[in-house]
Structure formats: C-alpha cells, structure tokens
C-alpha cells in the first residue's frame, strides 16, 4: 500500500514528465525537429483508444463473459483493413476544409449546417460523458485500492480523491491541449505525450501480465491447466449453437469498428492530428499490433485472479490488486501509473475536442444570436477552458450518480453505441453522392433519440433516477414502447436491441431523407467534392496551399496541344511564354484558379491575333482547359467577390463604364509617364553603370580622371571638373577635369575658396547649386577657357555625411540641369563619392594587408622556428626548465622534465623550483641564488631532484640567467646522472676489486717468490747439512771409541804401580778437565746432531711450506699442513704463546696445499699478534659431516664487534699504517672459498678469537 501523498506525488511527477516531453517536442518543432511527425508517434497515439476500459475492464469482461472482450479490438482491426481508403479520404478532406472535429466534418459535408453540427456536438458530449465517467471511476477505484483506503477513507485526500482527480485532469487538459485558440493547429506536444502514455500503459500491463503468468503461476500452461480443473473451466467457452452468441459478437464487432474512428478522441487523433497521409501505412499494422500485445495477458490475469479466490465483481481491478497483494510494491505503482496513463489520455483528448465542438457549434451560434453575450467572442479560449471543466464535472457527476450501478465495460459500451450514430452520415457522406443534409439530420437525430431511449434511459432507471415501471411497462404503460423490447422485439441482448433500432432508424431515415429531400447546388457540389476528393494530389493539398492547387505543368501541356492545332511549335511556345509572364506565373508550379483564368485569357488574346477573337474564344471554350469544377470555383470566387461588394448589376455596369474611361485616361498618362520613366531609367542606368565602373577602379588618381571622362561622355556634357577639399578645408582643389574640352585650364580654376562661387557655395551649403546663363547671372558662367557654358551645376561629394569635395558639371545647353535630372546627378555624385572613398580605403587596406601579409609571413616563420625549437626541446633527453626569477615558478618545461620527475606539464606550472629540489641546506635562499646567477649568468651544480613519487634523482644542472627585453628567465638544463654515478660506483668497486686482486696476486707472487727462495735456500742448505749430519754421526762413533779407549787407559793407569805417572796423568786429567770433557762431549755431539736434524726439519718444512712443486690440486693431510706451517712460524710464536694441538683423525682432502698453508700461517700469525705478552693458541681439527674442520683459537685481545663484520674485507686492518696491508684475511677468505669451504670467526674483545675453517672432504675445486 502507498500513502495518498505518495500516490499523488507519483502522479504529479509522471504528468510533469509528460509535460516536459510535450514542451520539448513543441519547441523542437519550431527548430525543425520532427519527432511528433513520425509515423510511429502517430500510430502509438491512436492507442488512446485503449483506455482504463482496456487496462482494467478487459480483464473484468474476460472474467465475466469470456472471449467477448476481444471483439473490442478485433472490430477495430477489421475497420483498419479499410483505412487506406476511408481514413485517407477523411484526412484529405480535413486538410482542404480545415476540419477541427467530427461535428465540424459532418457539418462541412452537409452544407455547413449549424444544426447538424449542434446535434453531433450534443451526441458527442452526451456519448462521451459515460466514457469519461468510466475513466474517473477507474482512477478513483484504483486509487482507493493502492492506498488501501477501500470504502473507509481515512484522510482528506482519500475522501475527496474524485474531485481532486477531476481538478487535476482539467488542469492537465488545459495545459496540454487548450493553450491556444486555433484548434486547426496540430498539438504535436500533446500527441507525443499521448504516444508516450500508450507505451507506458502497454509496458505496465505487460509487466503485470508477466508477473501473474510467470511469477504467481508457472506460465500459460499452468494457468490454463488449473483453470480447466477449476469451477471456471468454461470461462472462455462459447456456445456456437446459440444465435444470440453470434448476434452479440457481431454487435460488439460493429460498434467497435465504428468506435475506432468515430469516437471524438479517435477522430481527433486519427484525422485532425494527422500530418501526413503516408503515416496511415504504418498505423494500419502498428496499431493492431499494439492491441494484440496489450491483450495477450488479459485472460491469464483474469484466470489468475479467479483462481486466487477473488470474486468476479472484483475482476475489473485484478490488474492492480494481484500485483499489489502478491507482488512487489513498485510493480503495483507501475500498474497504477499505467492505468492512470490510460485514463489521462482519453480524458485529455476527449474533453479537449468536445470542448472545441461545444465552443464552435453550441456556444458561438448562441453568442451570434444573443447580443449581450457578444463580448465573450474575445474570450473564446477561456470559454473553452470552462467547457473542459464542465465536461469533466459532468463526467464526474455521471460516475457518482450512475457509475456504481455499472461495471466499467458497460459504461464504455454506452458511449460506443452513441458514436455508432455518426457512422451512417460520415460513411455515406464519403462515398454516396446522393447523401444530403436532410437525410443526415433525420438519421442522426433519430439515431440519437433511439440511443437515449433504449440505452441511456434504462441506465438512469437502473440507477433509480427513473421509476422501474418505465422499464417494465413502457412510458405511460404502453408495452410496445418498452425501452428494452421496443416494438415487441424480445429475446435479444439489450445491446443488440439498441444497436438494431438505432441503426434501423438512423440508416433508414438517412437514406429516405437524402433521396426525397431537395438538395441545393451547394450540397451537390459539396457531395461531389467529398466523394471525388481523392482526385486531388495529396502533396498539393498537404502543402497547405488550399487556394493554389492547380498543377501548371498539366495545364501548359493542354495549352500547348491546343495552340499547336493552329500554330507552329515555336509560335505556340512564344505565346505561352508571354502569357505566363503577363499572368505573372512564369516560375510557378502550382497556381490558383484565378491565375489559370488569367493565363487562358492572355493566351486567348494572343491566339485571337492569329485566328480572330471569336474563333479563339470558341477554341478555348471547347478545349476543356478549365474543367467544370474549376469553372465552378471561378464562378464562386467571382460571385463571392460581388456578393462581398454588395452591388447591383446596374451599378456594376456603371462602374465598369467609369473605369473604362478612367482606364483610357490612365493609359495616356501612363504612356507619358512611361516615356519619362524610360528617360529617367536611361539616366539612372547610366549613373549606375558609371557608379559600377567607378567602383571597379581602385587607383584614386586614375579613378578621378576616369570618372570625369565617363560623365562627360555618357551625359554629353560640355565640361566636368572634380574638386576635393584640402587639409585646411578652406579651399577646394581641382584634381581632375575633362581634358577633351579644355587642354589648358585657367589657373584660377585650380582652386576655389569655400563659400565663393557656385562650387564653393555647394560645398558650404552641402547641397547642389544650379546656375543658368541668362546673361544676367552674376556667376558669369561663360569663361575664356569654357566659353560655351550655358548652364552649370555643382554637386557636393559626400562621404558618410562629410563633404569632401564637389563635382562641377557644365552644359552647353540652357536649363540642362533641372529638378528632373537633379536626383540622377545627385545619385551619381554619391556613387562617385563612394567610389573615391572605396578607392582610398582600398589603397589603405591594401597597404595594411600587404603589411599584414608580411607580418603574417614573418610570424609563420617565427612560429615554425618556434615549433621546431619546441620540438627540439621536447626531443631532448635532458630536462629543460624555464622559470620566473621573481617567483621561482615554472613557466615551461619540456617532455623530458615531465618524464624524469613524473609530473605533468600542468602540475609543473603550478609548482616552484624549490618543490623539486631535495636536500637543500638550511642556508639556501632562492633570492640569493638568483642574484648569484645574475652576476655570473650561469652556473653548474650537482644535486638531487624530487620525483612525484617521493624518490630522489641525482642530477647535474646547468643554470642560465637570460634577460630578454624587460622579461628575465632562468633556464635550467638537468641531466640525470644516476647512470654516471652508478658507473662511477662500479668503477670504484672494480678498482677496489682490481686493487684487491692485484694485491692478492702480489701476495701470491710474493709467496711464490718466498716459496722459491725458501726452496732455493733449502736446497742449498740441505747439502752442507747433509755433510754435517753425516760427519757428526761419524764423529759420534769416533768419540765413543775414543772415550772407551780413554776409560780403558784410565783403568790401566789406575791399576798401574807407577804412582808418579799416575799422579801426572791425574793432574793432567784435572788440568784438561778431561772428566768434564768426557761427560760433555757426547752431549755436544748429540746436541749438534739434534741441531743438524732440526735444521734439516726446518728446511724440510720450508720446502714443504713453499710446495713450489706442489702448485696443483692434490690430496693432502691437513694435520701435516698445520704442523709444517707451525714449524715455520714457531719462531714468531714461541716467545708469546704456547701452542696446544688437538688433532682428530682427518681423511685426506683434495686441495691446494700451498694455499692452505698460507691460510693457516696467516691465522697463526694473527693469533700471535693478538697476544700481547703471554697467551695460548689452541689448534683443533676434527671431522664434520663430509667436512673437516680446523679451528685456531687464541686468548688475545679479540676483535671489536663493530669491526668483526669487516675483517675479511680487502685492505681492512686494525693495525697501524705500515704494520699490515689488510689483505691477509681477505686472501684467506678467498682461498677457503676457492676450496668451497667456509671460514668463520668468533671473538669477544678481551677474551680472544677463534677462526674456524670448514673444508669439504671431497673437494670439487
């Protein structure tokens, strides 16, 4: 459910939308937009036929009477089959007769009868009232349903929805359709709005149908299956055996066939609003298609509602109530709007056209008769508005009083039968020549009466307005006159009964009245015009030139044939040509009857010159050049003219004689005038030619002389002189004169003072001065250089009201210059002045143009250069900035700058230089920078620019200060040096690497040299040491033997008796310390041997360390390598540290033993260096997982944490300069890595350092 305000608002919005469309179309039609004139709009507008009756009533009818509802649309389809011949005729007649309504049409056909128009208007008004009531009822009912008020409205709006709707409808109708007074203008906006409404209602109905069919049920099949199984299974069934069925069916078809064209609104849309007959070609299929589409879902909706349990009485509103109760609210609103559209369209058009009829055919005749009402003539538009409101309120009253007792459909049927009464006079009027006014009056009146009696009054009776007895017993108890069984006709449906009797009386009296009543000539002519209307070319008619409708080409063909019978083709052509010119229709294609008469009259006059007047007249009379109809029209035209003049034949004759005499006098005068005019024309032509010729000369000097010569020649003058004012404007100088007359002119004539003489006077007074030489003239026209002067005129030369000079004309005739030819000379003078001005201007302009062309050429070149320069700048890979020194704002940048920093050109122009500069020092100042630039004019800096994404870009910038006139600029060229910096960095790194490699190579070379030296020294020492070892061994043996002998000798001496000898030997033994020597000798030899052995070992180790013969990769025992290296460096370590060895069982490792020895040596040496006084070095080896590990630990000073990460860097050292190269550990690192091993370090400052080397067991070096 929706609130009343919501519904009213939705309605108002929808109508506003339609109004906007109508306004847009009407405004567009003035500018050539032809939307409203499209056949589709015309065809859709015809669907105004589908009103609320269709939208709601069809479902109601289907639910109660089955398929009978369909006749309302099948009937029109049948009628439309004949539309090409019926409707087209109506449209053509409408165009010619400017028909405004159906009543107007009927009246036009039957002698413009006011009474017939009045009866038709009454019938239309009364017939339309139930239909309007039907629409209002539908709107009220559906409004109640959608707002849920039902029969108990609970708001002011709901209680008064009826009057509110009426007021709104009246407003809409006036706004859309009755804004202007002349109803013959087509309401293109209203028609387009109608078409839109029809689309909306079709869409809404189909939406409701689709919802019911496919969302409430499962399609057509499901609905029909359920219907077949329900109590309503015979809903659509027809009883083909009952005659009543056929009668009712036929009746419905008949009344709908007439309604499609003769309902006032249908007539208005189909006939009055038709802009082109060809639109009917589209309407004949599009409109029936529309009706078919809008009826597809009628049965499913009716069946759907019944199956849902709704009663048949509610069927009129199934279309709305089913979506409202079972579907989305928006669909219900759409359906309501669709129903509203259906009602609005009908009400608008019907009330508009009915109001027009009422105004034209009821009200105006009354005004004409009642003088008191005469002032209302000026307020017809307001009268029409009042008519609209009255019609709507009558409709509302009908709905209130009678509507509740009828369903929607039945109310519509009443109107259908009413308009059926129009069918006989209209169809008869179109096709039956003998149809007359009397027949139409009788037929229409009787049909109207019978309709009232058999249909309208019973409706009133059922509503309680008339006593029931009226229906049951007839008026005054006359059974035979019972309204629903008239003249004893019983057993038929009331509708059939009404249609039968109305048509019986209508058609019957129409035919009888037409046949028996006398017809006036006018009626006969009208009848022929209406029946034969299709003989007129539609294009001619549609062009709207209703008075000019004769095709000249056809008449000329006939005329040529006629004249060709007496003359040659050339003579005939000449006569025709002259006749066309004389008739003034030379270039026309379509002519009026008067033009035709004139043409034939002129041609007859010319022909009479050849064959005589009588013969010519006879020939033309018999030629049929002017058809009977045309003659009649001509007669009528003349008769009208005479009638308007209100004169008697005698008076006409007097007037004719009077005008004949006057004509002769005027002919004489015109001949004289003609002569003078010719003369004047000749002069003017000459003046015009001169002026034209003068204007073609653009050289001022040449122009002046040419002008003077031409005037003299063309006008036969004695002398012509041209004077122009000087700069002081006090003198007029002679610039040109006719040299034919005088070769040498008097000097006094070269200039003349302003105000003196005839020339000076003409300039001073700004008007022509004329003088004739009568002998007494003080101007003394005759002069020595111009003795034959008899008359003279001086005319001022005027340019834009400024006198610039004068022309002096002299003639040798008296009175050569008079008021007759003065205008000619004045005109000539003005033209000459203009020509002089033009020539002067031309020279000025040409000079300026030349200068401009030169400037343009220079500009083009400059522009081209600028463009080239611009292109070059944009193609540069370097960023170029131009900025304003005063504000530091960017004035221009090139593409490279945009690309480099990521800003667009527009963004740059909003920025300042400082916005892109990065890492500026605090002391930076733009002004100081500019001042510096002004002094130096250029500078070169490296810095960074900020990109749009926040990143920085290293650039080197060349900045120049440029002064151009008063404007100064700073132009900066920035080059991205990222790649250069990267290259520099790479070079630095490469250099470092190179240095490292070089140092490593040097180290290796050194080591190689050391190795070589060691090997050499070892080799040289080895040999002597070999001798020493060998001799010491021999000495040891000798010493052992010698000591043995000495000991044996000592024993013998001790055992000897020779005490003296014993004492001397013992004293000598003591003196020589033989005992000590004996004891020490062995030790010495052993120590010497030991020393020699040590030297041997050292040499061996040295050789082993250098391994000069072992530079290849081979399996080596790491423990042995450590030992040999340890021996080498022991001398350096023994004073500072003790060495603890903890070797594990290691498998041989494939390696470069020399290089590994170098590593171990470096580590041992470093360990030694780290110990200041006394310490310990622990060497440990063990097996890992397919690796062997060697650790060398010391308890030295350790390595600080901030340096430990850099110790393997080349040239990094913690030692003083000169104490270490910083390459040792770097080389160790490289060597270990070369062995696919790893070297790590752990250190605690103050506690010591441990280096751990890990080598793979199977080296893949």
């Amino acid at each position: 459910m929706f609130s009343s305000v919501t519904v009213i608002s939705a309605v108002c919005l929808y109508v506003a939308f339609l109004f906007i469309i109508a306004l847009w179309v009407e405004k567009g039609s003035k500018t050539g937009r032809k939307l409203a004139r499209s056949p589709a709009v015309y065809s859709l507008a015809l669907a105004v036929y589908c009103t609320s009756w269709t939208f709601y009533g069809s479902v109601g009818k289907a639910a109660s009477s089955g398929m009978l509802f369909l006749t309302i649309y099948l009937g029109p389809t049948m009628a439309i089959v004949l539309w090409w011949f019926v409707l087209r005729k109506l449209v053509r007649l409408k165009t010619i007769n400017r028909t405004t309504s159906i009543a107007d049409f009927i009246s036009s056909r039957y002698g413009k009868s006011q009474s017939l128009a009045a009866i038709a208007t009454m019938l239309a008004l009364i017939g339309t009232t139930p239909y309007i009531a039907l629409q209002l009822k539908a709107v009220n009912t559906t409004f109640s349903i959608i707002t849920g008020s039902g029969s108990a409205p609970d708001s002011w709006i709901q209680s008064n929805v009826g009057p509110i709707v009426v007021v709104l409808m009246a407003l809409f109708t006036i706004v859309f359709g009755v804004r202007k007074l002349d109803p013959t203008e087509r309401h293109e906006g209203m028609v387009t709005a109608l078409a839109v409404e029809c689309v909306v209602k079709l869409f809404a109905f189909m939406a409701a149908g689709i919802f019911v069919t496919y969302f409430m049920y499962d399609g057509f099949g499901d609905i029909f299956t359920r219907l077949s199984a329900s109590p309503f299974k015979d809903l659509l069934k027809t009883d083909g055996s009952d005659v009543r069925t056929y009668m009712i069916w036929s009746t419905y078809l008949l009344i709908s066939m007439s309604a499609i064209l003769f309902l006032p609104r249908q007539f208005h849309v189909a006939v009055v609003e038709n802009s082109n007959e060809n639109h009917i070609k589209t309407a004949v299929w599009m409109f029936p298609l529309y009706m078919l589409l809008i009826n597809i879902f009628v049965v499913p909706i009716a069946a759907g509602g019944l199956l849902k349990g709704y009663s048949v009485q509610q069927a009129d509103t199934f279309v709305l109530s089913l979506p409202l109760n079972h579907g989305p609210s928006i669909l219900a609103m759409l359906v309501f709007i669709g129903g509203f559209s259906a009602a609005t369209g009908m009400i608008m058009v019907s009330s508009m056209t009915t109001s027009t009829m009422m105004t034209n055919h009821l009200f105006l005749p009354v005004i004409e008769r009642i003088k008191v009402l005469a002032p209302l003539r000026r307020h017809l538009l307001k009268v029409r508005w009042f008519g609209v409101i009255a019609i709507l309120f009558i409709g509302y009253a009908f709905q209130k009083l009678i509507g509740d007792s009828h369903t929607l459909v039945n109310m519509g049927i009443i109107s259908f039968v009413a308009v059926l009464q129009f069918a006989p006079p209209i169809i008869g009027g179109l096709f039956w020549r003998k149809a007359g006014k009397a027949g139409a009056l009788l037929g229409l009146s009787s049909g109207f009466f019978m309709w009232c009696y058999t249909m309208l009054l019973p409706s009133f009776a059922r509503s309680g307005w008339l006593p029931d007895g009226f229906l049951d017993y007839g008026p005054f108890g006359i059974n035979y006159l019972k309204p629903e069984s008239l003249f004893g006709l019983t057993g038929v449906d009331p509708l059939v009964h009404t249609v039968f009797w109305t048509m019986f009386f209508n058609i019957g009296l129409y035919i009888l009245g037409s046949l028996f009543a006398e017809k006036s000539k006018n009626e006969v002519n009208l009848a022929n015009d209406f029946v034969d209307i299709m003989e007129f070319d539609s294009a001619v008619i549609s062009r709207g030139k209703e008075s000019a409708c004769i095709k000249l080409e056809e008449k000329l063909t006939s005329l040529t044939d006629l004249l060709g019978q007496y003359l040659t083709a050339e003579e005939a052509g000449n006569i025709i040509n002259k006749s066309l010119i004389k008739a003034g229709i030379k270039d026309e294609k379509i002519i009026t009857i008067a033009d035709l008469a004139q043409l034939t009259s002129e041609a007859e006059n010319f022909l009479s010159g050849f064959i005589g007047a009588a013969a010519a007249h006879q020939a033309f009379s018999q030629s049929g050049l002017i058809t009977k109809r045309e003659k009649r029209e001509l007669s009528e035209m003349y008769a009208e003219i005479l009638a308007d003049m209100s004169v008697s034949p005698e008076e006409i004759q007097k007037k004719i004689d009077y005008y004949k005499d006057r004509d002769m006098l005027m002919a004489r005068q015109s001949a004289e005038l003609e002569r003078k005019v010719k003369e004047r024309t000749r002069d003017l032509e000459a003046a015009a030619e001169l002026g034209h010729a003068a204007n073609s000369i653009l050289d001022p000097e040449k122009l002046r002389q040419q002008v003077v010569d031409m005037i003299q020649e063309r006008f036969g003058l004695y002398y012509v002189g041209l004077y122009l004012l000087d700069d002081t404007r006090e003198w007029a100088l002679l610039h040109a004169y006719s040299t034919e007359t005088v070769k040498v002119i008097m000097k006094s004539r070269y200039r003349t003072k302003i105000g003196e003489g005839i020339i000076g006077e003409s300039i001073a007074n700004a008007r022509a001065s004329v003088a004739d030489d009568t002998g007494n003239n003080k101007t003394q026209l005759s002069t020595p250089d111009l003795p034959d002067t008899r008359s003279e005129i001086a005319l001022p030369l005027r340019i834009h009201d400024i006198i610039v000079g004068a022309i002096d004309l002299r003639s040798s005739k008296f009175n050569a210059f008079n008021k007759d030819n003065l205008p000619v000379f004045q005109t000539l003078t003005d033209q000459i002045a203009m020509a002089l001005n033009n020539a002067q201007l031309y020279n000025t302009v040409e000079g300026e143009l030349t200068e401009r062309r030169r400037t343009e050429t220079e500009l083009e070149e400059a522009y081209s250069n600028l463009k080239l320069f611009r292109d070059l700048i944009n193609q540069s890979h370097e960023a170029i900035y131009v900025c304003e020194p005063a504000t530091a704002r960017f004035l221009d940048v090139n593409n490279a700058a945009c690309k480099m920093l990521g800003y667009s050109e527009e963004e740059f122009l909003k920025m300042k230089v400082i916005d892109i500069q990065s890492a500026l020092p605090d002391s930076y100042s733009w002004e100081m920078h500019v001042e510096t630039l002004k002094e130096k004019e250029s500078s070169f800096i490296e810095g960074e620019h900020k990109r749009k994404d926040g990143s920085t870009l290293p650039v080197e910038v060349s900045i120049n200060y440029i002064l151009r006139g008063k404007k100064d600029y700073i132009v900066a060229v920035a080059r991205d040096i990222t790649s250069r910096q990267k290259a520099e960095k790479r070079i630095e790194e490469a250099y470092a690497e190179l240095k490292s490699t070089q140092s490593q190579m040097l180290q290796r070379e050194k080591m190689a040299s050391v190795g070589q030296l060691a090997a050499g020294v070892a080799h040289e020492i080895n040999n002597p040491m070999g001798y020493i070892s060998s001799n010491l061994n021999t000495l040891n043996k000798y010493t052992a033997n010698l000591l043995k002998f000495i000991e044996a000798q000592s024993k013998i001496i001790e055992s000897s008796q020779y005490e003296e000898c014993r004492r001397e030997i013992n004293a000598l033994r003591k003196e020589l310390k033989l005992d000590y020597i004996t004891e020490d000798l062995e030790g010495l030899i052993i120590e010497s041997l030991d020393g020699a052995e040590r030297v041997k070992v050292i040499v061996q180790n040295l050789k082993s360390f250098s391994r000069i013969d072992e530079a290849e990769c081979k399996l080596a025992d790491i423990n042995e390598c450590i030992d040999s290296t340890l021996n080498i460096v022991w001398n350096e370590l023994k004073y500072k540290a003790s060495v603890q060895k903890d070797y594990g069982e290691l498998p041989p490792v494939k390696c470069y033993p020399q290089q590994l020895n170098q590593v171990i040596m470096n580590l041992l040496v470093n360990a030694g260096h780290s110990i200041e006084k006394e310490g310990e070095i622990i060497i440990k080896t063990w097996n890992g997982d397919k690796t062997i590990k060697v650790s060398i630990s010391d308890n030295g000073c350790g390595i600080p944490e901030d340096k430990i990460g850099r110790i393997f860097e080349p040239f990094f050292t913690t030692k003083e300069i000169g104490e270490g190269t910083g390459l040792g550990l770097s080389i160790c690192y490289d060597i270990v890595k070369k062995h696919n091993g790893d070297i790590t370090v752990e250190s605690n400052p103050g506690e010591g350092t441990t280096f751990t080397i890990q080598l793979p067991v199977v080296s893949t070096i």
Partner: protein
C-alpha cells in the same frame, strides 16, 4: 512480386481482406464451441489476428510513396468507390 504489390494496392483486395477477417474472427465461435481448454481458444483468435496484422504490414509496405491521384480523365482506372 510487383504483381502482388499491385494487387495489394487495389481496394478490392482490402474488401476481400475484410471478409477474411469476418470469417477468421467468427469461425472460432462455432469451431471451438466444443473445446473447453483455454489454450486452443485463445490461439484460435490470436493467430489469425497476428496473420491479419502481418498482411496489413505487407500491404502498408506495398503502397506507393506518393498517392497516385486518379485523374477523372483517366477512364478505366476506376474511382475509389
């Protein structure tokens, strides 16, 4: 095709079409009087109706763009009615 188009332009064809409409729109009344199912009943009206519309469409297309006015002197062509 031209012959068909020229036939379609004659008013007699339209009269014939009118008679056909009468037949098509009346015949379901007695043909389907024994039918109670809604489907065939509906189709019996809508299909002929659609057929008539189709014929009207082709008829509309076949009309010449300009109305050829019938000059009274051109005997034999006949007038509208």
């Amino acid at each position: 095709m031209k012959k068909l188009k020229s036939v379609l332009e004659h008013y007699e064809f339209h009269v014939l079409l009118f008679i056909l409409c009468i037949i098509m729109f009346f015949s379901p009344l007695f043909i389907l009087s024994d039918f109670s199912t809604p489907g065939p009943i509906l189709l019996s009206f809508f299909i002929p109706w659609a057929l008539i519309i189709a014929i009207l469409y082709f008829t509309g297309q076949s009309y010449s763009k300009r109305d050829t006015s019938r000059h009274p002197d051109k005997a034999g062509r006949g007038t509208d009615v």
